[in-house]
Structures are given as structure tokens and as C-alpha cells.
């Protein structure tokens, strides 16, 4: 599944400083042909939404390992809608307990990934979701 021509923003919301996952996925998405922008650490949901809209991305990938994912995903979705970016797909990666998946999907997330999934599978799934849009 190719991501050529897709623009993706990888973002770290909140205060969590674990950025390895974000960087791994950013590098891998770029290797798969996507144009990738990475926000760096500690960004507010408003900021992430603004950059996503300004940069006209197809998708935002949030990386969260602090346990604050439900709140941060809801906030980011709200900010995206307010910034007229409601069509931008939101993916979430990190330490997300299975029982929180439903809440994230309900909040508007398109896909949820964890560290032990193969990168190839993550990219294929993102490619499928973005092709459908």
C-alpha cells in the first residue's frame, strides 16, 4: 500500500516525552512515500489542529504514552473540527488499553495502533483508510 502523495502530521500532544514511537512511525511513513511533518514534543491540541489545517494534511497521527489519551483525542478532534479540519483523519498510537479503544473511536479516531504491531501492517492500514477518503 503506497502512501505516495499523502501528507501526514505526526504529533505529540500533552506533556509526555516518549517520542521514540512518534519518530519511528514518522521515519517509516516517509520511507513509504508520505510527506511527513513532525511537531516535536508538548504540543497543545489547538496547535496540532492549526498546523494540520495550515499544512493541509490528510491525516494526523497522535502518539500518547502517558495514559491521557481519551482526553487528548477528544480535545484534538474538537479543535480539528473548529479549525475546519473535520475531514482530516486521526490515528492514535501508544499505550492504549483495549478497553479504551471504543471511547477513542467514538471520539472520532479512525485507527488505533500499538507498539507491537508490525510497521508494515500499520502503514497498510493507514494506506487503506486514506485511500477510502
Amino acid at each position: 500500500m503506497s502512501l505516495v502523495g499523502k501528507r501526514i502530521l505526526i504529533a505529540k500532544p500533552g506533556l509526555d516525552g516518549h517520542d521514540v514511537g512518534a519518530k519511528i512511525i514518522a521515519l517509516a511513513l516517509r520511507d513509504a512515500g508520505a510527506e511527513v511533518i513532525y511537531t516535536g514534543l508538548r504540543k497543545a491540541p489547538e496547535y496540532i489542529a492549526r498546523i494540520a489545517v495550515e499544512e493541509d494534511v490528510d491525516a494526523v497521527g497522535l502518539s500518547i504514552l502517558s495514559g491521557s489519551h481519551v482526553q487528548l483525542v477528544r480535545e484534538t478532534m474538537r479543535c480539528l473540527r473548529e479549525a475546519q479540519g473535520g475531514n482530516i483523519k486521526l490515528f492514535v498510537g501508544g499505550t492504549i488499553p483495549q478497553e479504551d479503544a471504543a471511547a477513542l473511536l467514538e471520539a472520532g479516531a479512525t485507527g488505533i495502533f500499538n507498539a507491537s504491531q508490525r510497521i508494515e501492517d500499520v502503514i497498510a492500514e493507514m494506506g487503506r483508510q486514506l485511500a477510502a477518503s
Partner: protein, 538 residues
């Protein structure tokens, strides 16, 4: 992506290369080992350990990292762990406290009490240590960006309780350089951060001579993805930067080096982990002696704590993690660690439950009291393979340190984002090695269950009321404290921030005594110092 779409159903024979890339022969023989380099335990260059009798004199400290929610809940967990035989405290702080935000700050609202306990002011610290004997208990704080502030708060608690400062033992991590590289709780730019660290070390050496004012940590770069040899190399490169800073301030390394300590991860490659510690001890002692002219033997000793687990643990088949941590715990002991933290089997994905936290501690007790491996010092000393691999690890770490020096030093490599980039690329390599089956992780890429299933018996849930309690108490402190006094102490801090000749520590202690908050102290310093600008490089 070059990885195959399927991986073999069973792993091949163990790789001939260690994870650091060292090619290991089928057999190591006596002629491949330089016996003259080994030396004796307790003697320079300390390959075999810093004590002549190893753990017979004193066992390592059992130091389980713990903290969550409110100060009361965490205090309760500490009392539980102490009752179970834990011998030192290790305080986990929440991200707002680590990044310098009060619990009411907009950036903080989602994270109060999530990954650690909230400690925004002295009132919280008093609750956290309620009923615990600070004169007897050694307390370690994983704190960096706000380390000087949390240390000041600890001193203020001791002062208020009448505990003599000279009796305090413990550690603050206080290693900002690796925060820029891997852990991310930086606040100020490099320059003022280095000054704050030097201030706290100088002050601690005078006021709390038994306290370790810095624990230079490789654990986080390791967990982020780099190899064992790089872990030591990046850490020692940072350590030399701190030593240079202290020497430039007129410090005598014969004195201050006695209170420098280190902190690393232990992952799964048993012998490489053991040998990295033996090599690090030898390399550090030699460098201090030859580069800095240190002559005092005690100042040449490389003292370190470890954490077993981290990214070597898996969310799949979580009970397997108990075995992994047991093996890593043994490697830490064979490597001569001074303190050990064994992760709980569920720690890869949640705050440990009381049950999992207890198993982690029991693991250490089994290794310490049943296995007999602490019976004699450095039991693997003289093993052809161990001595050979120790030499190879030392060469490897020296090579990486040279590369950093060639780049222009660790501070430049960090400010440019060069080190961050190196680690990210390593992390991607490691991930792809797992994805394509070259690196075996049982339960993840081999020996999986056919269907995904949840196997965890017990799930930890934070008290949902904890954050609200913390915020309410914070408001009460702000309403009832002497605000004029707070303003005065903060103004004095701000003034001193602009003057390199004033040590900031006494001013921070004054602020803490006045119940100034972490956010207020950080904001005061930010006004003068600004914030670190993260180099974002991919």
C-alpha cells in the same frame, strides 16, 4: 520497506552478534583474554567491582519506582512496599511536576497524577512523606527539569520536621542532557540548565554530604532504542560535560566525583549487560584519572543503579515479563549494581497493581536470598567470555565517545538534534529487526497465540477523584499562604537567576518554605532564561 511479509515460524540459532553488533566467536579461549587488565575487586580500575567483598558487605538497595495520583495514595503504596521489605524509596512524579506546570495550568489538566504523583508545593511533599523517617530512608527522585526545585522541597520537609540535613540520603536524577536527547522533560535552554545543575551539586555536597545530587542516566536513551554500548557512551559523554562544568566553577573532582552516580537499563542480552557495567567501571575510572587527574580512589568509583524491564517487556503474554525481569535482575547483580529497580510485569502498559508490584519486589528477594549469586564478589570474573566481551564493550563505547567528540561534543550534538536522530534511526532498526523476525521476542514475533486475547487478571485504575483532590488542595494552599512572602522569595530567585555568582539553591529552599509552587518558581526562571527550543529533525 524491505521486510518480508511473513516471518519463519521458529527462530533460527542465536545470532553470532550481540545487540551492540559485536561478533562473538564459537569459543573464547585463554589466549584471547588480557589477564593484566582485570585487576582485583575494590581496586583501580574496578573491573571486578568497587568493593573488595562485593555484596557480602552490603546488598544492593531494593528500590521500586512508584508514585501515582495524589500524595496520600502514593504514601500508602510506599508504606505497603516498605512493609514488604523494600529498602529505599523511588518517587515517580507526574508530568506537570516534571515539566514545571501547576496542576491548574491548561497544559497540565489531562495529566495530573497520571504517570506519577503530583507534587506542586511543600504541602504535598509533607503529605507524601507523612509517617516516613527521612533520616533513615534513602529516597530517590526521578526528576530533571525541576530537580533543583524538588530537592529544595525535600530539604524544606526535612527542615520543618527537624531532620538534620546531614542525615539525608538519596538521589535526584538531575541529568538534563539526556532529557534533551530522549526523555523530553526539559524546560530551560542548555546553558542555564547546566548552571542550575552545578548549583545543586555544589550545594548538596555542602549541605547534604550523603546525598547524590545527580544520577547521570543512560536508561532512557537505551529504552528509546540505542545499544548497550551506546547507552554507556552517551551517558559518559554527558558525565564528562558535567565534570567540565563543575571544574570550570572551581570544583575539585577528587571531592565532587565521589557523589556522582549513574543509572542504566538492563535488557535481555545477559552477558552483554554484565560486561557493559564491568567495562564502564574501568573506562570511567581510567578517564577520571588520566583526563582529570583524580587521585582519590573513592572518587574513581563508578556507582550505579539500574532498572530491569522497560522496553524489553511486552504487552503480549504479560506474565512472560516476570521471567525476563528475573534474568535481567541476575545480570544486574553479576554486573555489580548498587541499587536495583525491577519493573512489574504489567509496567509496560499500566501503573502496576499491588500484586504485580509485590512480585517485582519478590523477584529481587529471591535473587538476593535464594540464588546464592551474591555470595562472592564478581562470580564471573576470569571467565574467558566475560573478560573478552568486557574488553570488546570497552572498545565499542570508546569508539562512540570518540564519534561524539569528533562531532564537536555532546552539548553541540544535542542542540543540533544529531544524537536524537541517531537514536531514532536505531529505534527504527530495532523495530524492523523485530518485525522481520531477526530479533526474537517471545510472544510478539514468535510463539504467539493464534488469537489475540486479554490475559491480565487485574487492571490498575487510578482513583478518578485524585486529580480533583490535588487541585482543590492546591487552591487552598494558594488561598491560605502568606502571598507577600511568596512574592518576596520569588523576586529574590528572579534576581539571582540573572547573576551567575549566586547559588540558586538557598533561594529555592526559601521559596519552598513559603509554599511557592513549582509552576511559580519555573515561570520566574523562564522569564530570565527562556525555554529550550527543541531541534526537530527527521
Amino acid at each position: 520497506m524491505t521486510q518480508p511479509s511473513t516471518i519463519p515460524s521458529e527462530p533460527s540459532q542465536p545470532s553470532a552478534h550481540t545487540p551492540s553488533g559485536i561478533a562473538v566467536p564459537d569459543v573464547v579461549t585463554a589466549d584471547m583474554v588480557d589477564a593484566a587488565k582485570i585487576g582485583a575487586p575494590g581496586q583501580y580500575p574496578f573491573t571486578r567491582g568497587i568493593f573488595d567483598n562485593g555484596y557480602r558487605g552490603r546488598l544492593w538497595t531494593f528500590r521500586q519506582y512508584s508514585g501515582f495520583g495524589s500524595a496520600e495514595e502514593t504514601n500508602e503504596r510506599y508504606k505497603f512496599l516498605i512493609a514488604q521489605g523494600q529498602t529505599g524509596l523511588s518517587v515517580a512524579l507526574d508530568l506537570p511536576t516534571q515539566c514545571g506546570y501547576d496542576p491548574t495550568a491548561p497544559m497540565a489538566s489531562a495529566e495530573v497524577g497520571k504517570v506519577g504523583v503530583s507534587l506542586s508545593n511543600l504541602a504535598e511533599a509533607e503529605l507524601l512523606f507523612e509517617g516516613l523517617d527521612l533520616a533513615k530512608l534513602s529516597t530517590s527522585f526521578t526528576i530533571n527539569g525541576t530537580a533543583a526545585i524538588v530537592y529544595a522541597m525535600y530539604l524544606a520537609v526535612a527542615d520543618k520536621r527537624g531532620v538534620p540535613r546531614a542525615k539525608l540520603t538519596g538521589t535526584i536524577q538531575n541529568d538534563i542532557l539526556k532529557e534533551y536527547v530522549a526523555r523530553g522533560t526539559w524546560i530551560f535552554p542548555v546553558r542555564p540548565s547546566m548552571r542550575l545543575i552545578a548549583d545543586s551539586i555544589v550545594y548538596s555536597n555542602e549541605q547534604t554530604p550523603r546525598f547524590n545530587p545527580i544520577s547521570i542516566a543512560g536508561a532512557h536513551v537505551r529504552d528509546a532504542g540505542c545499544t548497550a554500548a551506546e547507552e554507556i557512551a552517551y551517558t559518559l559523554a554527558n558525565a564528562f560535560a558535567y565534570v567540565d562544568e563543575l571544574v570550570a566553577r572551581g570544583g575539585d573532582p577528587n571531592a565532587f566525583a565521589k557523589r556522582l552516580s549513574f543509572f542504566f537499563y538492563v535488557h535481555m542480552d545477559f552477558f552483554e549487560e554484565i560486561c557493559k557495567f564491568r567495562a564502564a567501571r574501568r573506562y570511567w575510572a581510567r578517564q577520571l584519572k588520566e583526563r582529570y587527574g583524580v587521585t582519590d580512589e573513592k572518587a574513581l568509583m563508578f556507582r550505579f543503579g539500574v532498572v530491569c524491564g522497560g522496553s524489553s517487556l511486552t504487552a503480549e503474554q504479560p506474565y512472560n515479563n516476570i521471567v525476563r525481569v528475573g534474568i535481567e535482575n541476575m545480570a544486574a547483580v553479576m554486573g555489580g549494581a548498587q541499587s536495583i529497580f525491577t519493573c512489574a510485569f504489567d509496567e509496560a502498559f499500566q501503573i502496576p497493581t499491588e500484586t504485580s508490584a509485590e512480585i517485582a519486589l519478590r523477584t529481587q528477594q529471591i535473587v538476593a536470598y535464594e540464588s546464592g549469586i551474591s555470595r562472592t564478589v564478581d562470580p564471573l570474573g576470569g571467565s574467558y567470555y566475560v573478560e573478552w566481551l568486557t574488553d570488546r564493550m570497552e572498545e565499542e563505547m570508546a569508539k562512540v565517545i570518540q564519534e561524539i567528540d569528533d562531532y564537536g561534543g555532546t552539548v553541540r550534538a544535542i542542540e543540533d538534534g544529531y544524537l536524537q536522530m541517531r537514536i531514532a534511526r536505531r529505534a527504527l532498526e530495532r523495530k524492523l529487526d523485530i518485525d522481520n523476525g531477526e530479533r526474537v521476542v517471545v510472544g510478539v514475533n514468535y510463539f504467539r497465540h493464534a488469537e489475540a486475547r486479554s490475559e491480565l487478571g487485574e487492571v490498575f485504575r487510578l482513583d478518578p477523584a485524585a486529580a480533583g483532590k490535588v487541585v482543590a488542595r492546591y487552591q487552598r494552599v494558594k488561598d491560605t499562604r502568606d502571598n507577600a512572602l511568596v512574592e518576596r522569595t520569588l523576586a529574590a530567585l528572579g534576581h539571582a537567576a540573572t547573576r551567575d555568582d549566586i547559588n540558586l539553591m538557598p533561594l529555592l529552599v526559601d521559596c519552598c518554605h513559603a509554599y511557592a509552587t513549582v509552576g511559580e518558581m519555573v515561570d520566574t526562571l523562564k522569564q530570565h532564561w527562556g525555554e529550550f527550543q527543541e531541534p526537530v529533525r527527521l
